[in-house]
């Protein structure tokens, strides 16, 4: 501080401003829009939502405090229980299948043969079109009366199915559509990661006498572990937040057999106007999701620290 004294004396005003705002006051002008939008429409709502979850609110008239009532209610809500069950079924099937299929396809596509670019493009396109488009398209394909799948079944002499109209099948059809729509993403991620597997490692293993399968099993797949963890978390986050596809196909039906958690939150908040209750459910789900993301971040840090 002693060294600072003469400098402070030479230009006190500038130095003071600098001490308060940092070397570059203009930086605040640069970040202002981002700070206002991102913090204003995320950090503020996060706190607001928490407060809301202790209140009874219909979004319009003034709310009143209900203490922990919303949280108590959600534990005993059978409809929520069903939504959780549907979500978990979806997650447990969708996540491993999408990753396994993505890895398998990426390994198959990781070679230089003709048309390989076309194959990759065709497999990725479903991922980039809107989920709404995917949902509407498959509503038609799996339509009981006019759908092409039933017509094929008929031609093959097999019994036609209810598909999205059958409470026992709808959720599984949605899983199938979700897989079609997202395997391409897993493939592209794995393909990029495969480029980063050092060729020398595979060659070293081959020289050491490993078969192709052993190279894959003991070199390539372990090298992909960080990416697999990333996809595991990413796909789980997607699965637990499933909404668009349900809305675009079944809207929760038939017989509420496809109501998933986020769809249920949507219903509570914006159809039934139980905003406080919806906020409480959202908070519980969010904690799980944030926990998952945090795990992923911890894993990455750990990976970097222990290469």
């Amino acid at each position: 501080m002693e060294a600072l004294a003469p400098a402070l004396a030479t230009a006190p005003r500038r130095r003071l401003r600098e001490r308060l705002l940092g070397e570059h006051p203009t930086a605040w002008a640069f970040i202002a829009p981002a700070v206002v939008i991102i913090l204003g429409l995320t950090i503020v709502p996060v706190v607001w939502s928490l407060l809301l979850s202790f209140r009874s609110s219909d979004l319009i008239s003034p709310s009143h405090s209900v203490g922990l009532a919303n949280y108590k209610a959600l534990v005993h809500d059978p409809a929520l229980g069903a939504a959780v069950k549907h979500t978990l079924i979806f997650t447990v099937l969708y996540v491993p299948l999408s990753i396994a299929a993505g890895l398998g396809l990426a390994l198959a596509l990781d070679r230089r043969i003709r048309l390989i670019g076309l194959y990759r493009t065709l497999i990725l396109i479903p991922f980039i079109v809107a989920t709404a488009v995917q949902g509407v398209l498959f509503s038609f394909i799996f339509d009981q009366r006019f759908g092409v799948v039933n017509s094929l079944l008929q031609k093959l002499g097999l019994p036609t199915q209810g598909f999205l109209g059958d409470p026992g099948q709808a959720l599984y059809i949605i899983i199938l559509i979700a897989l079609w729509g997202s395997i391409g993403f897993c493939v592209i991620i794995y393909l990029a990661a495969l480029q980063d597997v050092p060729k020398e490692l595979k060659e070293a293993a081959a020289v050491d006498g490993a078969t192709r399968w052993e190279v894959l099993r003991h070199v390539t797949i372990p090298q992909l572990a960080p990416i697999t963890v990333f996809l595991l978390v990413w796909q789980t986050l997607f699965a637990l937040q499933l909404f668009d596809l349900v809305y675009a196909t079944t809207r929760g039906g038939p017989l509420e057999s496809t109501v998933v958690i986020v769809y249920y939150i949507y219903l509570q908040a914006f159809q039934l106007f139980h905003a406080g209750y919806a906020a409480a459910i959202a908070y519980v789900v969010a904690l799980v999701l944030i926990g998952l993301s945090a795990l992923q971040i911890v894993y990455r840090r750990w990976r970097v620290a222990h290469p």
Binding site: L21, G22, E23, H24, T26, A27, W28, F30, I31, P33, A34, I38, L39, L41, T42, P45, W48, S49, L59, A108, I113, I116, Y119, T121, L122, L124, I125, P126, I128, V129, A130, T131, A132, V133, G135, V136, S139, I141, F146, V148, N150, S151, W180, G184, I188, I189, A192, D196, W234, F243, D244, Y247, A248, A269, A282, A286, I290, S293, A294, I297
Partner: protein, 275 residues
């Protein structure tokens, strides 16, 4: 081995071609049925290869008032969102990468933290905010929350951090202000990152369904995904028109993707593989 010798092409095609077709087939079916008449579709069992082409579906979609309006709305929202993200994310990313100011690390970490906050806990208050700002049921409600995204700020900051700082210092000595450096030197060098940001922002904006569904009520303010699902609910027997609308919604992203495939794929993978 013997199989390889007998085939004029790699045996991998035998597995990959059918799989690729399986992924493409639904789109083919979408296009074909958009060109059928309702009569052709309503036949039971349905036609798979139509004998004649019909444009009624497309006429309903393109000639009606709704789809062109929704297409326009989607375009406005996407274009404004992309441009504002390019500008604001660059500015914020540059400031976080290059300018030292009090609280810069704390604010950046806070912005980074918002990346893992799920939409469900922010949507209700955001809805109320939009209502209070008299923006609900307008395109503004779709644009304002997405003017700047934390992902974009993060992406641009990473990019600027990796630019050689001496080039920017040279520009400052050559007579540029901080903003001049950003405008004349950093931004032209950031073209790859800006392309990535533009591609992903467009994709997310164009495909968004959940938020517009919540905040938009009037037909004429719908974007394509909301309009499409609503249209399907109302016209579930007019499948050719629904499929035409579906194709119309998918078309811009598919075209954009095919034109800029390299950037798109690099964008999708960069955050996962490198981040």
């Amino acid at each position: 081995m013997s199989l390889r010798r007998r085939l004029p092409f790699s045996p991998w095609h035998l597995a990959l071609a059918p799989i690729a077709i399986l992924f493409a087939l639904p789109f083919a079916w979408m296009v074909i049925s958009s060109l059928m008449s309702t009569a052709q579709i309503n036949r039971f069992p349905p036609t798979i290869i139509p004998g004649s082409l019909h444009l009624e579906g497309w006429e309903t979609v393109l000639g009606g008032a709704e789809f062109p309006r929704w297409f326009l709305n989607s375009t406005i929202v996407a274009v404004v969102t992309v441009i504002s993200n390019l500008i604001f994310c660059s500015m914020a990313g540059y400031a976080f990468a290059r300018l030292k100011f009090r609280g810069s690390t704390a604010i950046f970490l806070l912005i980074l933290a918002t990346l893992i906050i799920p939409f469900q806990i922010t949507m209700i208050p955001t809805f109320i905010v939009m209502h209070d700002l008299h923006l609900s049921d307008t395109l503004g409600a779709l644009i304002v929350p997405n003017l700047v995204t934390p992902f974009g700020v993060f992406l641009m900051r990473q990019f600027f951090l990796n630019l050689p700082i001496e080039v920017e210092e040279a520009a400052r000595i050559d007579g540029c202000s901080r903003f001049g450096v950003l405008l004349h030197v950093a931004t032209p060098l950031a073209k790859p990152a800006l392309a990535t940001l533009a591609a992903l922002t467009f994709l997310v904006s164009w495909n968004e369904l959940f938020w517009p569904l919540i905040v938009i009520n009037t037909d004429s303010t719908f974007t394509l995904p909301v309009g499409l699902t609503t249209f399907q609910g109302a016209h579930s027997i007019d499948w050719p028109a629904v499929m035409a609308g579906n194709a119309l919604t998918a078309l811009p992203v598919v075209v954009a993707f095919l034109l800029t495939q390299r950037t798109f794929i690099a964008s999708l993978t960069s955050s996962a593989v490198k981040g």
